[in-house]
Symmetry: C2
Subunit: 383 residues, 2 copies
């Protein structure tokens, strides 16, 4: 089987955007074709990662509309939905289409358009990601995060301030990301004194509601060499579920989907956590960055918070986490987020990350659906 390569990437401005999801998809798709230097008629598979265009704007069939707008017909198209990890799922399906030999050129574009709906309307759709036995009683994703954060702080004797430092770090990283929704620093006092959302978590422990799109171009390594000397390989990608009813988990501070998906990806790539130079994690809530950094094997269980306190996950640290600013400062347009994580690792490994550049030959992206109900881990390395 041939190695799977990424030869181009793009992302749009994240934030509050005009237009429809199709406009965002077209913007990122066109930019990715340009970045890769691939003509649209060379694309044979076109995947759209998107959770809810029908629910948010009453429009379905957006993958076929995008093929039309990009002049990529007769490319095969599909929409991939894995709730908030739809982008990571798209990466896995793009990998599979190339690795299976079905595709010589797969364009993946993830997008979500959400800010035109009220927060109540948007969160109503998002709440339905989880099990009705929970969300119909008010246990939504933010409240899971609050409950888990309290359990984590109690169990591992971690200070509340350590969670706030995740927000401070990722906002500081986001200052240098021209595509981020928030390009501004916040100080620890501001985070710790922001309004309570789900005790002990406060407003600045949460990512915002966002519009945006990101895209990646996948092909076999032999095809990549026809287009460029510099590309990134994807030696491993894994996906795994955890219980859909969150309260059935034996230990809510362990995300089994993270453990299992990374085990699969590490095994495929013959790599381990010690081989990773940089990571983009799914910091939809600050507490999730601790859990993932431990369940991916970067740090011992219960010690992720210490790594943040010690500055090890800063851009200048020994394992930079979320050099892009993460979901916390970039924003979280559901279908785009997992694609944008891989975009950041691609830019880092290509040496094109500008002020955000870290020293890295390998990278990892971890995209979380629901409250870890399904997780996708992707490993990448420079060629």
């Amino acid at each position: 089987m041939e190695n799977v390569a990424i030869i181009g990437a793009s992302m749009t401005q994240f934030g509050q955007r005009d237009g429809w999801v199709l406009d965002l998809l077209s913007e990122a798709g066109t930019a990715c074709l340009d970045d890769a230097g691939v003509p649209p008629d060379a694309v044979d598979h076109l995947y759209v990662s998107n959770m809810a265009s029908g629910e948010f704007e009453g429009q379905t069939g957006i993958m076929n509309a995008l093929a039309h707008d990009l002049a990529a017909m007769p490319a095969y198209t599909a929409r991939i939905d894995q709730t908030s990890s739809s982008g990571g799922a798209g990466v896995k399906h793009a990998w599979q289409s190339v690795a299976s030999g079905a595709s010589d050129m797969t364009l993946l574009v993830g997008a979500e358009k959400m800010t035109h709906r009220t927060t109540a309307e948007a969160t109503d759709v998002i709440a339905s990601i989880t099990h009705p036995v929970e969300y119909k009683h008010g246990v939504t994703l933010p409240s899971f995060a609050g409950l888990t954060a309290r359990l984590y702080l109690d169990t591992y004797d971690a200070p509340r301030e350590s969670l706030g430092k995740v927000a401070v770090k990722n906002h500081r990283h986001g200052v240098d990301n021209p595509h981020a929704q928030f390009q501004k620093e916040v100080d620890l006092d501001t985070v710790l004194n922001s309004p309570i959302v789900a005790d002990p978590l406060r407003l600045y422990d949460f990512c915002p509601i966002t519009d945006g799109s990101a895209a990646l171009m996948f092909c076999p390594e032999s095809v990549a060499k026809e287009y460029t000397d510099d590309y990134v390989l994807v030696p491993g990608v894994g996906g795994a579920t955890d219980t859909h009813v969150v309260h059935e988990r034996a230990d809510p501070t362990t995300m089994r989907g993270v453990v299992e998906s990374s085990r699969i990806a590490y095994d495929m790539a013959d790599m381990g956590p010690e081989d990773i130079d940089v990571a983009e994690l799914h910091d939809m809530f600050t507490i999730l960055e601790f859990l993932q950094s431990e369940d991916l094997g970067f740090f011992e269980k219960g010690e992720g918070w210490k790594a943040v306190e010690e500055g090890r996950t800063e851009r200048g640290g020994d394992l930079p986490i979320n050099p892009s600013g993460g979901l916390k400062s970039k924003g979280h347009p559901l279908g785009a987020s997992g694609v944008a994580q891989v975009y950041e690792i691609y830019e880092q490994l290509m040496g094109d990350a500008g002020k955000r550049q870290v020293d890295a030959d390998t990278g990892l992206a971890c995209n979380v659906g629901g409250f870890g109900n399904c997780v996708i881990t992707t490993l990448m390395e420079a060629n």
Copy 2:
């Protein structure tokens, strides 16, 4: 690369069903696990083909809920949407997960729950499959079918009765399908005198709105041999788009998505239309059976109607088409339909089709999204 096999299949009763889409998915998924003799914890990839659970019943994340209900965790999950060809798209993604080496056991379950919504509500969602430039002016899928039917009849000098005979044939086939929504014959007079929907097409030229689910179990051939001596292989599968704006097509009586998707599938399998013994085509509208039977290469352009007139596509004919009764009599639960087409070919090639049995070693399924906006063609053969 290993051959991809199907080792189990199921479908639920199609029609007006109680419960939610998750109940239908669980019913078909459980039956498929039983049919294949595969324990749920052996499933490593679980795909749900579904277009619109969020729009129809306000529930998302159904693939994760299904993994939970089937006890298939930590299997990776995703929802595959390709509008009315979501089922066929699911078959392609299942094939890719096995052919890429990522999966040793992929369960695909397609379902849609629609009849609890009014016809106006359901058709509002379905209309949004196509381009707003058309549907917002009233050119919906049924009106495309009427316009195309008139053009076909005029261009190829075909009698109106030939379209009616597709409905008569497929209803007759459906009498022997215990899962079909309509298990009753209709005569030609009834079809030709039913209420006009989109001239020249009348009520009996259209499939109904339906609830239902169907499932398939995919694995590498080497794994198949561990479970059974008798299985079906999938030597080719192809997908292709046509213009998303239907009125831009040079010749609306040719479905480019059918031509291109079947070319890809035939090339992969080193087969041609002359090698196919039985076919399930997407007869959402009677006219579509003519177009597909020609664009797949079974009959010359403009001669599909003659094959029906001559009885060649009856179960006893030289190329039986829709021995299951087709979408016309089985019904069309969007995400399930393409899976149920492959279920029928599987049953035929396994010799398990009962009263519907035809003599076949190879088969083809053609699943159409929108008005041919994306099409998936799947080839199968007995082992």
